[in-house]
């Protein structure tokens, strides 16, 4: 059997496994499928952030802002909030606003992308830690506005958030309701699993193609040495803006999905904590390496959730001090420190190609002409 067949078989097995995962998980209860769904959303977010942090080397600590933009856009365009608040609006759309999936996802991507470029533009000159702090500030500003924009005009409904957001409907298939297919029960969460999986696969393909493309190589050149990249004729300004925009697009789409999946958004979901989590996923998994990033996102998103289910006894033992949310935080904190200390380049880093390993046959003999 040659290598090509091998690869094909691996793909088929992986595909079948991905397809039946939720069907197995739902036997143990829909809560488990829900955990997987959330993990897939985080994979999408981490892939998006990986474009900014991993490829272009721009540390963005306010990434959750784009997630919020997408989620709130979905919340406004597909919930009764606008019609309830503005009488004129209700007159225009007597049945309320129910924007379909086909329109909302591209719109969310576009809007978040515009936000990304708008955020990137003033910060182009900054790098490293400074950029991190400024983006963090942007994220906080967006959150403060989301929390306070219920007066004087009620746009975001303040800390209470937007509720009753529509679930997705595609060709008459409502993701919000359970369905039955060939006698097989497909609950709502499983439907969402397939939707999220499809989007994750599309994103992986986009990311992979980007990485291999001229644009991806330009980003990596900027990451390694911006001055040199500029000298080689790369338009660093446009490339950095493009990275911000592309990354934000992913965040926006994830936000739209999140809003329709939860049916509810509030500023609480978009705290700095989330931004830090997403950065941690990218860095822990292996910065700039797609499989690593996916691994990081799955680990950090799913493992603590799984632990939440076994946290009950522990909570009783410790007099209620160590509840599941605290345990989850504790675990994430420990993971961040321990993994960075033991593997500073991440769990599954980019294989180092092009660099000569000591002792390999094509290694240059001792450098000449330096001190001889």
């Amino acid at each position: 059997m040659n290598l090509r067949d091998n690869k094909l078989i691996t793909f088929i097995i992986a595909g079948v496994l991905l397809l039946i995962t939720p069907l197995i998980a739902q036997q143990f209860g829909n809560a488990w499928v829900r955990i997987i769904d959330i993990a897939l959303l985080y994979v999408l977010l981490a892939l998006g952030l990986n474009i900014v942090v991993g490829y272009a080397g721009l540390l963005d600590l306010g990434y959750v802002a784009f997630y919020a933009v997408g989620a709130y856009m979905m919340g406004l365009l597909a919930s009764p909030h606008l019609s309830q608040t503005f009488p004129g609006f209700a007159a225009t759309f007597p049945n309320g606003l129910h924007t379909p999936l086909w329109l909302v996802i591209p719109l969310g991507a576009l809007l978040a992308g515009v936000f990304g470029v708008a955020l990137g533009a003033p910060t182009l000159k900054l790098r490293g830690d400074y950029l991190a702090i400024v983006t963090l500030g942007f994220g906080e500003i967006i959150r403060v506005f989301l929390t306070n924009l219920d007066a004087p005009v009620n746009v975001t409904n303040g800390p209470k958030g937007l509720s009753q957001i529509d679930s997705f409907k595609v060709l008459g298939y409502d993701f919000g309701k359970p369905h039955s297919l060939f006698g097989l029960e497909i609950p709502s969460v499983t439907g969402y699993y397939y939707l999220f999986l499809a989007l994750v696969i599309v994103s992986v393909i986009i990311c992979h193609r980007l990485e291999q493309s001229r644009i991806g190589r330009a980003w990596m050149a900027i990451r390694e040495d911006e001055v040199a990249a500029k000298a080689m004729g790369i338009n660093t300004r446009n490339m950095k803006l493009l990275a911000f925009g592309m990354g934000a697009t992913f965040g926006g789409v994830s936000g739209v999905l999140f809003a329709s999946f939860q049916g509810f958004v509030s500023p609480e979901s978009f705290s700095l904590h989330e931004s830090v989590m997403i950065v941690a996923m990218v860095v822990l998994g292996g910065i700039g390496h797609i499989p690593g990033v996916i691994l990081g996102a799955l680990l950090l998103a799913a493992l603590p959730e799984v632990l939440r289910h076994v946290a009950g006894p522990l909570q009783n033992m410790t007099d209620g001090r160590l509840d599941s949310a605290i345990l989850r935080q504790l675990l994430i904190a420990f993971a961040m420190i321990a993994i960075m200390l033991s593997r500073p380049r991440g769990l599954w880093p980019v294989p180092e190609h092009g660099r000569i390993r000591p002792g390999s046959p094509d290694q240059d003999p001792a450098p000449k002409g330096t001190l001889s």
Binding site: D129, Y130, I133, V144, A151, A280, I326, M340, L341, R345
Partner: protein, 307 residues
């Protein structure tokens, strides 16, 4: 006019806290080029430690300022040990690692400290005991109380002491040399590891002092109280020019003033559309403006490449 002077007083008090914390950031960044994300959490631990000590000593009947002083000492000791160990465990092994790695451990440390504080002290906000009878004094129509006066005086004395330490003592010279170039400093007989540890300890002591002041002034302590002051203090450090001690002090005080003024007047300026709950965004707007218009900060020198 009364509001104006009142807000100046509030701003100076808030700015004192920012300045003390900003010094910790700026010293650490100046020497090892790391944003110590956990620094705000050190402030929180200081405040909570002093709360524990103060509340447990309430029954002894000692005068309030003695209790406050002892609780402050306890906070300084605990924070110094804590910051010293953080550096040893989480940052020192990563000194040659990729730049993002120590930043991630710093964020992890911040999360870890918050969570541990939540477990040890429970998540609810706790009232900080009133240890010094706060008598209001009137200055030109505005009110300042005893605690605020003590805060301003203590901060001024501490800052003067720190300036002396850095500019006129042997340790200070070693710190400046290490910031300039750790390798060459090492060749000249300075032990960079020790200097870095000393820097973390000094920074922690300042943060503990700031934490106790913050708690005494605002009257409440909680596990999440360190995050925002920490972030704003970092902003102050950048504002003044990171790595520059005088800059951190000026930046801290200015940021406090800007915030107090902004909170006091934003309602009038925008015709009531934006209220004082937007106070927190001023620091970030200042940060963004400073970094885009004058990235080296108010008092900083232009450094060729710091990425």
């Amino acid at each position: 006019m009364d509001i104006f002077i009142q807000q100046i007083i509030n701003g100076l008090v808030l700015g004192s806290v920012y300045a003390l914390v900003a010094l910790g950031y700026t010293m650490v960044y100046g020497i090892i080029n790391l944003i110590n994300f956990a620094h705000g959490e050190v402030l929180m631990v200081g405040a909570l430690t002093s709360w524990t000590v103060a509340t447990s000593m309430m029954g002894l009947g000692w005068p309030g300022w003695v209790v406050l002083f002892i609780s402050l000492l306890a906070a300084i000791v605990v924070c110094s040990v804590l910051n010293f160990s953080i550096e040893k465990v989480a940052y020192r092994p990563l000194r040659t690692a990729p730049r993002l790695a120590p930043l991630i451990t710093a964020m992890g440390m911040s999360l870890l400290l918050q969570t541990l504080a939540m477990i040890i002290w429970k998540p609810n906000p706790k009232p900080y005991p009133i240890l010094i009878p706060s008598e209001p004094y009137e200055i030109a129509g505005a009110v300042i109380n005893t605690i605020q006066i003590i805060i301003l005086v203590t901060t001024a004395v501490t800052l003067a002491g720190l300036m002396y330490l850095v500019n006129h003592t042997k340790l200070g010279r070693a710190m400046r040399a290490t910031a300039e170039n750790p390798k060459v400093a090492g060749l000249m007989g300075v032990r960079p590891d020790m200097v870095i540890s000393a820097t973390f300890i000094i920074g922690a002591a300042l943060a503990a002092l700031a934490g106790v002041m913050y708690a005494a002034n605002y009257g409440s302590v909680q596990h999440s109280m360190g995050f925002l002051p920490g972030l704003k203090a970092f902003t102050a450090a950048v504002f003044g020019g990171i790595g520059n001690l005088a800059g951190a002090m000026v930046g801290g005080v200015l940021l406090g003033l800007i915030e107090a003024m902004g909170a006091g007047y934003i309602g009038d300026l925008t015709g009531g559309i934006l209220g004082s709950h937007y106070q927190d965004i001023f620091a970030f707007i200042v940060l963004i403006l400073v970094l885009t218009l004058r990235p080296q900060g108010l008092l900083g020198e232009r450094v060729a490449d710091r990425a």
